[in-house]
Amino acid sequence: MTAVTDWTPAPTISRDDIVHASEEVLALPDRPYTEREDVFRVEALGLQWDIGVHVYEPADPAAIAVGGDGKKIGGFLLHGGQDDWRQVEPLARLLTGKFGWKTVAGTFPGRLYLPDPSRNWPGDTLNPDGTARTPIWLDGEYVTPDQYDIVKDAGNRARDGVRTLARAKPGSQFYYRMAAWPAAMEAGMVEANRRHFPVDEYSIYFQGHSTGGPMVSMLCQRVPNCAGVLAAENSPFGVVNGRKHTWGGTLGKIGSYERTATKAPAKSDPFNELYLRTWRDLARYRGPEALGREGPQALMRLPWLMEEILAEWAQQTERPRFKCEYPITHNIRPSLIAAAEVSARRLGLDEDRTRALVEQFVGYTEPLTGPDVKPVPPFLFGISKDSRDHSPEVYAEVIMPLFAAMTPPPKIALTRFMAGVHMIWTPEQDLPMGITPAVVQQWHDAIVNGWFVVPAA
């Protein structure tokens, strides 16, 4: 094992340096690599679940990059809340094609469109006949419209507009899947890492975009060879993320503009609620991002801004665009407890095993603690200039202190990239892949220079 290094991440990377890094990374020679899908089945809470991941692997196994700890570098990426593996594909291709990592991009249970090899979801999330797009957790098993009610929610209209939800009816298979998927997330993603990153060969570095962040946070202690979390625009553990959103009144903060809200009721999404996304879910990012990039005058070109949002949405409807992860990502304990209890009743568990299942579910939102537990590995946080939910203030005031208070506290560092938005691969002037190349360059430097190598206690 290489000795711990003096390499440290810069607290801030200027736009000029980001542009320079982008040019350098994109000019790196292309390494040959293969891409393939791996669909497999796991069992969790008495149900079968089809899990699909996409694998990007250097054509020459001997050419896989090696980190500061002397082990091959594996990257495990998870997409954001409404998507599938395709969202993080640009990132995966860069890591493998330019830096020689083996990269696996996971897809949340239920998000892979199993009936078609293209994985393109047909139609839209909301159909003219009042039905909705629903997850496919198992090949051949479909949620029928009699299994849910469509509900409109204007409870947090300032952030989300009016949300459309499919609420699973008690007793339906949809209901039971909605109660059990957290365990399938754990089992499926752990199995994906086991299949592709043998413990004796690989150190794995996790990255979860946005909603994927609390999932990789949860997984980082459950996958033995996870050596670190590359937390760029990666929401943290649910218990920390919930506090993060409360800090910004769920509206976040942009640049030098004041927070518009500082209080928010805790989220209370029930476990049986599937959120159907629309253009609104682009608008809630594009508005704050436009404020950061263009300033208030973005409102003077509102028709154009709206056109951009609607056009972007129209291009995205083949992606899943539904979501049900709030109980974990926002630490909604009553919903996690209810989900565990519903699963326990379905499985006929006794009181002790029910209690254990409840603890398992609640545990998805916070670091595992105890003497025999793998500690939280180092987190290298990275945030873009114009991200509503990932401001430097919320990291300084909420996220970093909560990590520092963990037992034992993991090694952490934060870099602010002075360009880019929440989706770090969004192109902007001089940055054809956004800030992704600069972020990836930093990750690679951190790994090969041993920043993630933690001395044994």
Partner: protein, 445 residues
């Protein structure tokens, strides 16, 4: 009344409460549809009349008549809240005109069916004469992104040369003049009435044009009322057509002249609400409006959906922005159709160009006195542009009218838009100022 007067929000609220507390007078309402002949074509014109049993009298001892015109995409219904306020609360007789082609003559409800742009690629088109419809073979649909900062992508149709649509697009400016002048003659006899005109937004250059052509127009009540076309063009050039919101700098200061051809009909969409609601949100909420963009967009889409029964098409830029090359082309196209000789053709071209500016000369009725009123959060009607562009240009007229500006510290371009404590926006406060100005003799000096 001083040249520029700030009217506080508190005063707007108090005025609104006072006006809305007034007893309502009995008022008759009816539609008047008639036909006029202009440039060799018949045109069906419709106006809406609001007539109280007892009509108020101004400082000149004559009955107060008001002629209102709507904004660029609408019909008489847009001005109805204001017309009813003036008739019922102040005792004015009010006539609300509708631009030629905008009245949905096919249905007594006047509700336009469907949307402006249909799924089959056809579009909503004007009905200038009862029973005459524009067929899709008479136009081509185009998309224009040349003014995307202000409008987003515009959907327009170009009338094909030789079609009736083309002839109407070339001829409507004179139908506007003839139809509106005739409407005032029918309802406001010169011997009885002094008329005060108000044109919301695009209606403004039309009432400015009419103010010298109707003998008993006594004043212009220019509330969020764009001025004569040539001044309006300068008004827009001042901000590169992007306007300005109070408290924020202009984004652009270089002119962005319009070149809309006369044969182009603009089909409106939700974008035309967004181009106002964005700047208005900036003015009323500040930059944080962008933090609630999904909600703001929902409000715009909902509002648009409610408006679909209105005409929502427009072709008046040639007058309102003094697009002179297009007016010349329209006049020449009309002259070609009518087979006019050189002298008559030149006269027609002069006539068209004259629609954009005040008439000048010894025998001409001067521009009447103007009382400008602007709201706090109107992108195109800032105090700055009035002081730097509009008022100096009125002052430079050969026979300059008396002018004054009232700057209301509340409200938006659509002045009757509700906001907290102002259920009809700043419209009641403006109405009170108008009534006071007429009765105190502002327009008779």
């Amino acid at each position: 009344m001083t040249a520029v007067e700030e009217i506080s929000r508190e005063r707007c609220v108090a005025a609104s409460a006072a006006v809305l507390a007034r007893a309502e007078r009995a008022t008759r309402e009816h539609e008047d549809v008639f036909q006029v002949h202009a440039v060799g074509l018949d045109w069906t014109i419709g106006v809406r009349v609001y007539e109280p049993d007892e009509i108020a009298v101004g400082a000149d001892g004559r009955r107060i008549g008001a002629f209102f015109l709507h904004g660029g995409q609408d019909d008489w219904r847009q001005m109805e809240p204001w017309a009813r306020t003036m008739a019922r609360r102040f005792g004015w007789k009010v006539v609300v005109g509708t631009f030629p082609g905008r009245l949905y003559l096919s249905d007594p409800s006047r509700n336009w069916p469907g949307d402006t742009i249909n799924a089959d690629g056809t579009v909503r088109t004007p009905i200038w004469l009862d029973g005459e419809t524009i067929t899709p073979d008479q136009y081509q649909v185009r998309h224009d992104r040349s003014m995307r900062m202000r409008y987003g992508t515009r959907t327009v149709v170009h009338a094909r040369p030789g079609s009736r649509f083309y002839d109407r697009m070339a001829g409507w400016p004179l139908a506007m003049e003839a139809g509106m002048a005739h409407a005032m003659a029918r309802h406001f006899p010169s011997s009885e009435y002094s008329i005060y005109v108000q044109g919301h937004s695009t209606g403004g250059p039309m009432v400015c044009m009419l103010s010298q052509r109707v003998p008993n127009v006594q004043g212009i009540l220019a509330a969020e009322n764009s001025p004569f076309g040539y001044i309006s063009r300068r008004q827009h050039a001042w901000s590169g057509s992007l306007g300005k919101v109070e408290g924020y700098e202009r984004i652009r200061t270089t002119a962005h002249d319009r070149h809309d051809p006369f044969y182009e009909l603009y089909l409106r969409s939700w974008r035309d609400l967004a181009r106002y609601r964005g700047p208005e949100a900036l003015g009323t909420e500040g930059p944080s409006a962008l933090m609630r963009l999904p909600w703001l967009m929902e409000e715009i889409f909902d509002e648009w959906h409610e408006q679909l029964v209105r005409p929502l098409f427009k072709c008046e830029y040639v007058i309102t922005h003094a697009v002179e090359e297009s007016l010349c082309a329209a006049a020449n196209a009309t002259a070609d159709r009518l087979g006019l000789g050189d002298a008559a053709r030149a006269e027609l071209v002069d006539h068209y160009l004259g629609l954009t500016r005040e008439l000048r000369g010894a025998d001409v009725k001067p521009v009447p006195n103007v009382l400008f009123g602007i709201s706090r959060n109107s992108r195109d009607h800032s105090r700055d542009v009035y002081e730097e562009v509009i008022m100096p240009m009125f002052a430079r007229m050969d026979a300059p009218p008396r002018i004054a500006l009232q700057h209301f510290q509340a409200g938006v371009h659509t002045v009757w838009r509700a906001e907290p404590e102002l259920p009809l926006g700043i419209m009641p406060a403006m109405s009170l100022e108008w009534d006071r100005a007429i009765k105190d003799g502002y327009f008779t000096s």
